[in-house]
């Protein structure tokens, strides 16, 4: 039932309606709304009941295990939420003077410094509001760099075929042509293809490491050399930083610019699809181009760096300070982890992934890159199963929902057929992983014994399999009375 279906004309929440005083300016008639908007007219209780019930129809980290590759679904500490929502933080206006926000600015400054240290970059800007915006800003800086040198012929960005879809989309948004290069059998970027692709048109290479195939790009130093020698810059997509946290700094791998998905590695909430936050880090030569606002610190006083101090900056990408409250949550998380905790994140994310990979292999699943270590994630392919039984990766994913597990990422990266990209994250216990393996084994049996049941999964969710084609063909995007 939609909230609108609880609505009755004339019903309202009195305690949420201020009394209005008479004073109004004569606003011209044509500027005044004729009919009220279609907002629900429901009681406060009905609102609370409706959305509480809706919430219960979601899977979430707080209720289920989410082995969702490339998404790093780890525990979101409740303290991060509570402390980022302290009333003074919530009440502060973004344009309030700096001296009314020294506590807030101190957190941001320390976050900048910590991220610099973790990534090995020379500067960090916290402004990007999501991974995709971090990428956009990163590539904008690459472009600004080349332009500042009068190097105007560089029109191409190289992207491996296994990359996240945002990488090529971003390059295009920055006016670049995308050159895709292939991956070898071991899951590494094909060095020969890279060598063939680089040249005077190369603005840069965008790369995730560990790659979306769940393996560490062994030739990264060589790749860095190739791209830099061609005059290009290296962009690090920080989507998989969790696998390397405290182990390898992107700066040390030769990257010139990086974005960091705080909602992955630093455990800010996914919130059903946002808000994200993706600070960018840059090497020395990109420092002049970094976007503002940035916090600086002089004699015990924190303040924003202004446009005037950064005349070559690519500018502002949000109306204020990006997703400030998300930054606070990441800051708190980092302070809770501390240096020791930070080093352990990658270790235990990697331990969990390799253990789960080993156990699933023993259970009879086919691992896509069996000769490689899993980083914090790995790929299972159901190609054989599909060929033999017709059961697809998607069918398996849906069946897992029935068993109380969120599905792994399916059909990504696209170059592995019928794939499941599985990332357990470090906050899950061995028992949870073991229980997941049991469920996967049950499914192997079900595939053999009840393939039809498998193909029509899920069976115990609030809703059965939905018709995506109808959704796209007969668009129903808003409710009509």
């Amino acid at each position: 039932m939609l909230i609108f279906e609880h609505s009755r004309p004339g019903r309202r929440n009195y305690s949420q309606s201020p009394t209005t005083t008479a004073k109004t300016e004569k606003i011209p008639e044509n500027l005044l709304r004729k009919t009220p908007p279609l907002l629900p007219e429901v009681s406060e209780m009905d609102t609370v009941r409706h959305y509480t019930r809706l919430s219960q129809k979601n899977f979430s980290i707080d209720t289920e295990f989410y082995p969702l590759g490339s998404c790093t679904m780890k525990y979101n500490p409740r303290a991060c939420n509570a402390l980022a929502m302290l009333p003074q933080f919530l009440a502060r206006h973004p344009l309030a003077p700096e001296d009314t926000g020294q506590g807030f600015l101190a957190c941001l400054y320390e976050l900048q410094e910590t991220l610099k240290n973790i990534t090995g970059m020379a500067g960090v800007s916290l402004t990007p509001m999501a991974g995709a915006q971090g990428e956009l800003i990163g590539v904008m800086m690459i472009r600004a760099y080349h332009e500042s040198r009068g190097d105007l012929e560089r029109t191409e960005i190289i992207v491996p075929d296994a990359a996240h879809g945002t990488n090529p989309a971003t390059a295009v948004m920055c006016g670049y042509k995308v050159v895709e290069i292939s991956t070898d059998k071991e899951g590494n970027v094909d060095l020969a293809a890279l060598k063939a692709a680089v040249g005077p048109k190369t603005a840069g290479l965008m790369l995730t490491n560990p790659s979306t195939l769940g393996v560490f790009e062994k030739n990264i130093s060589e790749m860095s050399r190739i791209v830099h020698q061609a005059g290009g810059l290296l962009y690090y997509d920080g989507a998989n930083l969790n696998a390397l946290l405290g182990k390898v700094k992107p700066g040390d791998m030769g990257f010139d610019v990086i974005h960091i998905n705080l909602h992955k590695t630093f455990s800010t909430p996914h919130g059903g699809g946002g808000p994200g936050s993706a600070p960018v880090g840059v090497a020395e030569r990109l420092l002049p181009f970094i976007p503002i606002p940035i916090v600086t610190h002089e004699e015990g006083v924190y303040r924003w760096i202004t446009e005037k101090e950064k005349p070559q900056s690519i500018g502002r990408l949000s109306a204020h300070m990006g997703n400030a409250g998300v930054l606070l949550r990441a800051y708190i998380y980092i302070r809770l982890l501390g240096v020791d905790g930070m080093h352990r994140v990658a270790e235990f994310a990697t331990l969990n992934a390799n253990y789960l990979m080993a156990e699933l292999r023993k259970a009879g699943f086919e691992i896509a890159y069996p000769t490689r270590r899993a980083s914090h994630e790995f790929i299972v392919t159901l190609k054989d199963i599909k060929d033999k039984t017709g059961v697809t990766a998607m069918n398996l994913a849906k069946r897992l929902l029935d068993k109380g597990y969120h599905a792994p990422t399916t059909y990504f990266p696209m170059l592995v057929p019928e794939c499941l990209l599985i990332e357990p994250a470090e906050t899950e216990s061995k028992e949870t992983l073991d229980a997941f393996v049991v469920a996967m084994k049950e499914i192997l049996v079900e595939i053999q014994e009840q393939p039809d049941m498998m193909k029509s999964a899920p069976h115990t969710m609030p809703i059965r399999k939905l018709d995506d084609v109808k959704a796209a063909r007969e668009l129903d995007l808003t409710w009509k009375p």
Binding site: L39, N58, P94, M129, S221, G274, P291, G341, H406, D476
Partner: protein, 451 residues
């Protein structure tokens, strides 16, 4: 090991299963020379008790002020139910609803949100949100250019939020899109339709129309919209959603209505929070549905013909279309939209109208009282909504400083953005202010001017 549940036994058993001796061995594919060793600048870990003490201390240091700054971010009362429900784990810690069957809560809520926003803006459809108002406007500009085919130029009035103009410029720049600025009338504070005459020979993909504008003044939206359409350009409305409870929605501007409406969603139940996270909204006419960026939720049926909700039109998006996507945007501001949807449900049309009306009335009341002070004058003649630019006999900077020391953030100094206006500040009053607050403001302003 905060948040890591492994016991020593667990670790030993897991390594045995893997066939490794140590956890470090699992990193053996990483060249030794790349390994970074100990992070030298990350501080030692704090317990939750310690970080709580630290953060509470910082929050108290920042304190509370009686706030009259608006300028794109507005202080409204947020019902307690909004965030108590929004921060429920099932909303707070859930992922993007790609697995529709396990995400009906979020998906249905977003469908309801789309319905509310489409109606509030008078448009046919809405996406499931953008990052913020400024970036939403930039995406609207890109969308107009994509749809227009022949022009890559956008007309933007100077009465739009100055930072929005900067953000648009930064984002569209690399796609060879030209941004042309329109002057405003120093008397009325509006973008005059007459000022468009100068551009009558040129082609534009879109005209951007703010309502109310940055000065809080109401624009002649009908004439501006009709001009855009007469020039075969798209009309993009930039609106404050709370004011739409009273003001004509973009979809009804002029004879055909604006084509795209965007804006900052923050006034709908999102705390000020030093600037974020907020959310941008974007709604448009049906004709543009395949050009809109971001997530869209559709209603469909399941195998039993029961209605359900899914992410739809994904063929526009980067994870399917890659370099041919309408945008690189991947996340929306899901949790913020959750809050906004609950907020709008709690308020309803009449509640929201009263918020708008009382904010308007309070602003008029304050300006009336302020004008009794010598040298304080409302700058612009045209109708305002809930913000007002006032000229001062002395620099705003010193007035604001003095009032801040009394616990009042009196407004925004207009000097930085509009130096041509002289000594002036932009003051916003919402429904949160009582008549005592207004009296305090005027009394303190009087004192500040006499110092």
């Amino acid at each position: 090991m905060p948040f890591i549940p492994h016991t020593d036994e667990d670790i030993a058993e897991m390594l045995t299963s893997i066939g490794a001796n140590t956890i470090e061995e699992l990193f053996d594919e990483i060249p030794e020379d790349l390994k970074s060793g100990r992070l030298e600048k990350v501080p030692p870990g704090l317990s939750e008790m310690e970080i709580s003490r630290l953060m509470m201390g910082r929050a108290q240091k920042d304190g509370f002020y009686l706030n009259f700054i608006g300028a794109g971010a507005y202080e409204h009362h947020i019902p307690a139910a909004v965030w108590q429900i929004t921060t429920r784990g099932e909303f707070y810690s859930s992922y993007t609803p790609y697995q529709a069957e396990a995400s009906q809560g979020t998906l249905q809520l977003l469908y309801e949100y789309q319905t509310m926003m489409a109606s509030l803006t008078g448009m046919d459809i809405s996406n499931a949100s953008m990052y913020d108002g400024a970036s939403a406007l930039a995406e609207a500009a890109l969308m107009a250019v994509r749809s227009h085919k022949t022009s890559r130029r956008i007309l933007i009035p100077k009465t739009i939020h100055p930072v929005y103009r900067s953000v648009v410029r930064a984002i569209v720049k690399n796609q060879q899109i030209e941004v042309v600025e329109l002057p405003y009338c120093p008397q009325s504070g509006q973008t005059l339709p007459e000022s468009l005459e100068a551009f009558s020979k040129e082609e534009f993909a879109a005209l951007v129309i703010p309502q109310p504008n940055f000065f809080g003044v109401l624009e002649q939206v009908d004439a501006l919209t009709d001009w855009a359409h007469s020039k075969n350009a798209f009309a993009i409305g930039v609106v404050n959603p709370v004011t739409l409870a009273m003001l004509t929605p973009p979809g009804e501007w002029g004879s055909k209505g604006a084509d795209i409406a965007v804006g900052e969603g923050q006034p709908l139940g999102i705390p000020l929070s030093s600037g974020g996270p907020y959310f941008g909204f974007m709604a448009c006419k049906n004709a543009l549905v395949r050009q809109i960026p971001g997530r869209i939720i559709g209603r469909t049926n399941d195998l039993d013909n029961k209605p359900g909700f899914v992410l739809t039109l994904q063929a526009r998006e980067q994870h399917i279309r890659r370099s041919k996507a309408t945008s690189n945007i991947c996340t929306n501001q899901g949790l913020m939209v959750t809050a906004a949807t609950i907020y709008m449900s709690l308020l309803g049309p009449e509640g929201l109208r009263r918020i708008a009306a009382q904010s308007h009335a309070n602003t008029l009341e304050l300006v009336t009282q302020m004008e009794k002070l010598p040298g304080v004058k409302r700058i612009f003649s045209e109708s305002l909504f809930h913000e007002v630019a006032v000229s001062l006999p002395i620099p705003a900077k010193s007035v604001l400083q003095t009032m801040k020391e009394k616990g009042i953030l009196a407004g925004l100094d207009l000097q930085e953005f509009y130096p041509e206006i002289g000594n002036a500040m932009l003051v916003c009053v919402t429904e949160t202010k009582t008549s005592d607050d207004l009296k305090t403001f005027v009394a303190q302003l009087g004192q500040a001017l006499n110092q």
